[in-house]
Symmetry: C2
Subunit: 195 residues, 2 copies
DNA sequence: CAATTATGCTGAGGTTGCCTCAGGTTGATG
DNA sequence: CATCAACCTGAGGCAACCTCAGCATAATTG
């Protein structure tokens, strides 16, 4: 428990900011094409920067991943808040889950990182994961209150299901993406039957 | 399509067989404690063998993983056949899925390897995956024929669900294993309601 | 029981990726 | 323009991967 975990911050000097941005751009590209274990030295050289500079801005791989995915996940959280206003809470939950699966599988290896961050404070991505947890939990609660989703489902379980779907999508690299159907089955499984 | 993919075979000379077995034992231990990306040099030295010897017997990591998991998965397939004789086909399917999840998550990283092998011939584990596919598909078909499982569920989808559960279990390393509940939710989701 | 041979073993070494840190450079500030 | 904190560089130590030339030995054969 030593204060706050490092969240990469935009540096103050102009050259620092330039490099920070270049590294981030290179990292996004590399992660997307090679997964979360892309070579950091490649990323640095793609960004036109020495390896030490990369480590200055992003002391760990996890911190770089966090920075590279922050925007997308922030959007996801924001979307949850917007969806909460929808008249049909099951619709809202469904749409959000679909979107979440896509964001969770932005690149190979991300779901695993997020899943671990979810319950491990002191991880760079933990704050964002906690925010998503809140957003998802709210949508779930609303759907349950409306009697549309089985009431014994917890947010943790929801995220397990979600992560499972994202993982399936991640594996899908070439061809055959089973995640839409996976999610459909899960959704039909957790909704209450209106007979 | 070049003949058969390498499946590690027990070598002919006595010292060869000794080393083969020692490597396999060391590999099982290492995979279990460090995951599928355990150091091969560590494994070799634990087995009391030079690194070249390990590569002689197992030219790729995948071939070592295959050999290390073969027995367990063979048992799983055999069990599917035994279960097929059960009077209640839903019971049989349920029990087999539970067991499969455990075997799929023998060590961190295995599910991913199996999931990729499932549809990629030319992978060492492909043969075993195909056998499991058959076994699972038979149990599924029986449960569907008995009207106990939704008829539109394909074996591929079943394996996606199964792999998702195993993946969740894999992540559970410390505390919180969500896979039993995951599987329960999935099972309740795919069974037909008898109202 | 050699002699022969195929099978197997060794471990140095090339390659890549990780990460650190001592020393040099430069943007910001007054 | 002088100062200095912020920043950058890249060599180098470490670990893991994988290959291969040369040596060792189990099995076989006469």
């Amino acid at each position: 428990m030593d204060g706050k975990p490092y969240i990469a911050q935009r540096p103050k000097r102009a050259d620092g900011r330039r490099n920070y941005d270049a590294i981030l751009a290179a990292a996004r590209k590399a992660f997307e094409s090679s997964g979360a274990d892309a070579s950091l030295e490649d990323i640095a050289s793609q960004a036109g920067v020495a390896i030490g500079t990369l480590y200055r801005h992003f002391p760990t791989r996890a911190s770089l991943v966090e920075a590279a995915t922050r925007d997308g996940l922030e959007n996801l959280v924001a979307h949850a808040e917007r969806l909460a206003a929808r008249p049909d809470p099951l619709d809202a939950l469904t749409e959000w889950m679909r979107e979440a699966v896509v964001h969770f599988s932005t690149f190979r290896g991300l779901v695993g990182i997020l899943a671990r961050s979810m319950y491990d404070e002191g991880t760079p991505s933990h704050a964002m994961c906690a925010a998503m947890h809140r957003g998802g939990a709210d949508l779930l609660r609303a759907a349950q209150a409306a009697g549309r989703v089985r009431p014994d489902l917890t947010p943790e379980e929801l995220f397990d299901l979600l992560s499972g779907a994202a993982w399936v999508r991640e594996q899908a690299a070439s061809g055959r993406d089973g995640s839409p159907r996976f999610l459909q089955l899960v959704l039909e499984g957790i909704t209450t039957r209106d007979d």
